[in-house]
C-alpha cells in the first residue's frame, strides 16, 4: 500500500471515530434532558404523591387536592379511544395493503392519510367540537373526548399497521395462496398474526400520544375542576354493565396539570409537578409495554 492511500485510510478512520463520538454525545444530550426533566418534576412532586393524592378529588386547598377524577378520566377516555381507533385503523391498514386495488383513488387516500398524521391536534379539536359536540349532540363528554383522540391517532395506527404488513415477505402469502387459501384466510391466518407485533407497537405509541394530549380536549369542553367520578362501568346488578359513563363530563391528567400550573399559589405548582410525574410514569410504562411486545414478537417470528 502506498503512502497516499495509507494517509487517506487514516483520515477516513479518524472521521469514523469522530462521527461515533459525536453521535454518542448527541444521544447523551437527549437522555440528559429527559433525566433533568424527570428530576425536576420529582424534586417538586415526588413528596406529594401518596395514596391520598391518587384517591382525592381536586380541591381549593392544595394540600387536600388529588388527581382521582383526572386519572380515572384519562383511563376512560383512552379506553374509548382504543376501542374505536384500533379496530378502525387496523381494518383500514389491512384493507389498503391486502385488498385495495392500486389505482388513483387509493393513492389519493394514502396521501391523505399521511397528511392527516401531520395535522395539528387543535384542528381535530375544532372538528370534534363541530361534529361530535354540536352536530351529533354528544356534548362535552367522555365519548366525545375518546372519539376525538381516536381521530387524532387513527392515521398513526393505519400507517404503522401498513408498515407491519409490508414487512411480511410475499413468499409467505404465496405459500398460503398456493394451498388454496382465500384472501380472507391469508389475512386472518397469516397477515394479521405476523404483523401483530408492529401493529401493537403502533397502537401503544398512538395511545401514549393521545394520553398526553390537552388542546383538543380543552376545545371540546373538558372540565378543569370536577369533584365526582363518572358512573361505574360495571354494576353489581344485572345487566352488570353500564354505559352512562360515556356521557359523563370529564377531565384528564394533562388538563388537571395545566389547571394547577395556572394557579398563583406555589403549593398548586407542586401538585402539578406530582401530576406530571404520574403522567410521565404512565406514558413511559405504556411505551415499555410496547417495546416488550415488539421484542417478544420479533423473537417468535423470523424469516
Amino acid at each position: 500500500m502506498n503512502e497516499a492511500l495509507r494517509r487517506r485510510l487514516r483520515r477516513a478512520k479518524a472521521f469514523d471515530k469522530a462521527f461515533g463520538v459525536m453521535g454518542l454525545l448527541l444521544t447523551a444530550a437527549a437522555i440528559v434532558c429527559l433525566g433533568a426533566l424527570l428530576w425536576d418534576l420529582a424534586k417538586d412532586g415526588l413528596a406529594i404523591i401518596d395514596l391520598s393524592f391518587l384517591s382525592s378529588f381536586p380541591s381549593r386547598n392544595a394540600g387536600k387536592a388529588g388527581i382521582l377524577s383526572a386519572w380515572v378520566g384519562s383511563l376512560l377516555v383512552l379506553f374509548v379511544t382504543a376501542c374505536s381507533a384500533v379496530p378502525l385503523g387496523v381494518a383500514a391498514g389491512v384493507y389498503l395493503e391486502e385488498y385495495a386495488p392500486k389505482n388513483k383513488l387509493t393513492t389519493l387516500i394514502e396521501i391523505n392519510i399521511a397528511n392527516l398524521a401531520g395535522v395539528p391536534s387543535i384542528v381535530y379539536g375544532l372538528l370534534a367540537l363541530g361534529v361530535f359536540v354540536y352536530r351529533l349532540g354528544l356534548g362535552p363528554s367522555v365519548q366525545t373526548a375518546g372519539l376525538t383522540l381516536a381521530l387524532l391517532i387513527l392515521p398513526m395506527v393505519i400507517i404503522t399497521t401498513r408498515e407491519a404488513i409490508r414487512a411480511i415477505p410475499q413468499s409467505i402469502r404465496e405459500a398460503a395462496y398456493a394451498v388454496g387459501a382465500t384472501k380472507w384466510q391469508v389475512t386472518r391466518d397469516h397477515v394479521v398474526p405476523y404483523s401483530m407485533g408492529g401493529i401493537i407497537t403502533g397502537v401503544i405509541i398512538g395511545l401514549s400520544r393521545a394520553f398526553g394530549e390537552t388542546a383538543p380536549l380543552i376545545t371540546v369542553g373538558a372540565l378543569t375542576f370536577i369533584a365526582f367520578l363518572p358512573p361505574a362501568p360495571v354494576t353489581p346488578a344485572a345487566p352488570f354493565v353500564n354505559f352512562d359513563w360515556l356521557r359523563s363530563p370529564f377531565t384528564v391528567l394533562p388538563i388537571q396539570m395545566f389547571n394547577w400550573v395556572s394557579r398563583p399559589q406555589a403549593a398548586f405548582h407542586l401538585n402539578a409537578a406530582a401530576a406530571g410525574l404520574v403522567l410521565m410514569g404512565l406514558a413511559l410504562s405504556m411505551n415499555a409495554v410496547g417495546i416488550a411486545v415488539r421484542y417478544r414478537h420479533r423473537k417468535r417470528i423470523r424469516w
Binding site: 413468499s171 405459500a175 395462496y177 394451498v179 388454496g180 387459501a181 382465500t182 397469516h190 417470528i301
Partner: protein
C-alpha cells in the same frame, strides 16, 4: 407404474397446454407455448434465466392472478374432466386445491411444524384433531421428514435446516393429496445432500402425482425427469423424452444449451 424412458406411444396427458401466451403488462413472457404434461411422470422445464419457465409453471396454479396487469391467452386443459385452468370462469382457488406448489426458497409459515403441514387441510375446513394428526404424519412420512420431526411437531418450523424446511414445504403441499405438483427450482437454495433427498422424493412421488419441475440444473433434469422441455426467450423450443433432449435433440438451440455452449 413403470418409468421407462422410451419415445414410443405418448402416455395419457394430465394437462395440455395449448397456444399459451402470457403477458406481464405489455411485456410478453410466453409465446404460443403448446405442450403435453403426461400423467404421473416427471416433466422438467429447462432453459436459461428469463426464458419463461417459472412463468409457465406459475400459470398452472394461476399464481399470476395475485398481481395486477397479468394476462393469459390460450388454454391449459386439465384432465380428468378437461377443465381449462386459465378460463375466466374457473376459480383459481379451485385449481390451487388440485395443483400444489413447492417454491424456490423454502417458505414455511412462522408457525409450528404441525400447523405448517395441516394448513391446506385447515383451509378446507378440516378441524378434527385426529384426522389432522393422521394426515400430518402421512404427509411428513411422504416428505421423508417424519423421523426427524416427530418429537417436535409443535416446535417452530424455522428451527429446521434449509433442506428440512423445503421438505416441510413439500409435506405441506402433499397433505391435501394434490393431483399435480409444481416445483419451482426447489433445490436452488439447498446443499448437494439436501438436493439429492428432494430428488429422491420427486422420483418416489411420481407414481402418485404428476410432477412439473423447473430447474436451472441440467444434470437434475437428466437425473429425475421423464420428459424435458427446453425453453428459450419465452418459447418452448423443443420437448421430448429426457434422454432424447439430452443426446439427440432436433433443434440446434437445444443442442447448444444442453452441451453448455450457452446459458
Amino acid at each position: 407404474m413403470t418409468a421407462t424412458k422410451t419415445a414410443v406411444p405418448a402416455p395419457p396427458a394430465k394437462a395440455e397446454i395449448r397456444a399459451l401466451d402470457f403477458f406481464y403488462g405489455t411485456k410478453q413472457a410466453l409465446k404460443s407455448v403448446s405442450m403435453s404434461v403426461p400423467d404421473r411422470k416427471v416433466t422438467a422445464l429447462i432453459g436459461p434465466s428469463g426464458c419463461g419457465k417459472t412463468t409457465l409453471l406459475r400459470c398452472f396454479n394461476r399464481m399470476h392472478d395475485l398481481y395486477p396487469g397479468n394476462r393469459y391467452q390460450g388454454s391449459i386443459v386439465l384432465q380428468p374432466h378437461g377443465i381449462d385452468i386459465l378460463a375466466k370462469d374457473v376459480d383459481p382457488i379451485e385449481i390451487r386445491m388440485r395443483i400444489n406448489m413447492v417454491f424456490q426458497k423454502p417458505n414455511p409459515f412462522p408457525k409450528s411444524i404441525f400447523e405448517n403441514v395441516v394448513y391446506g387441510l385447515r383451509v378446507r375446513g378440516i378441524s378434527n384433531r385426529s384426522e389432522l394428526e393422521g394426515k400430518a404424519e402421512k404427509a411428513l412420512r411422504d416428505a421423508a421428514l417424519w423421523d426427524e420431526v416427530k418429537d417436535r411437531l409443535h416446535g417452530n418450523a424455522y428451527d429446521l435446516s434449509g433442506g428440512q424446511q423445503q421438505r416441510l414445504c413439500l409435506g405441506r403441499a402433499l397433505a391435501t393429496d394434490p393431483e399435480m405438483l409444481l416445483f419451482d427450482e426447489p433445490t436452488s437454495a439447498l446443499d448437494p445432500i439436501a438436493t439429492s433427498r428432494i430428488e429422491e422424493l420427486v422420483k418416489e412421488l411420481k407414481s402418485r402425482v404428476t410432477i412439473l419441475i423447473v430447474t436451472h440444473n441440467m444434470q437434475q433434469a437428466a437425473r429425475i425427469s421423464d420428459i424435458t422441455g427446453f425453453m428459450y426467450m419465452g418459447e418452448l423450443i423443443e420437448t421430448g423424452p429426457t434422454e432424447k433432449i439430452f443426446t439427440t435433440p432436433d433443434d440446434r438451440r437445444t443442442q447448444d444449451y444442453v452441451t453448455g455452449r450457452f446459458g
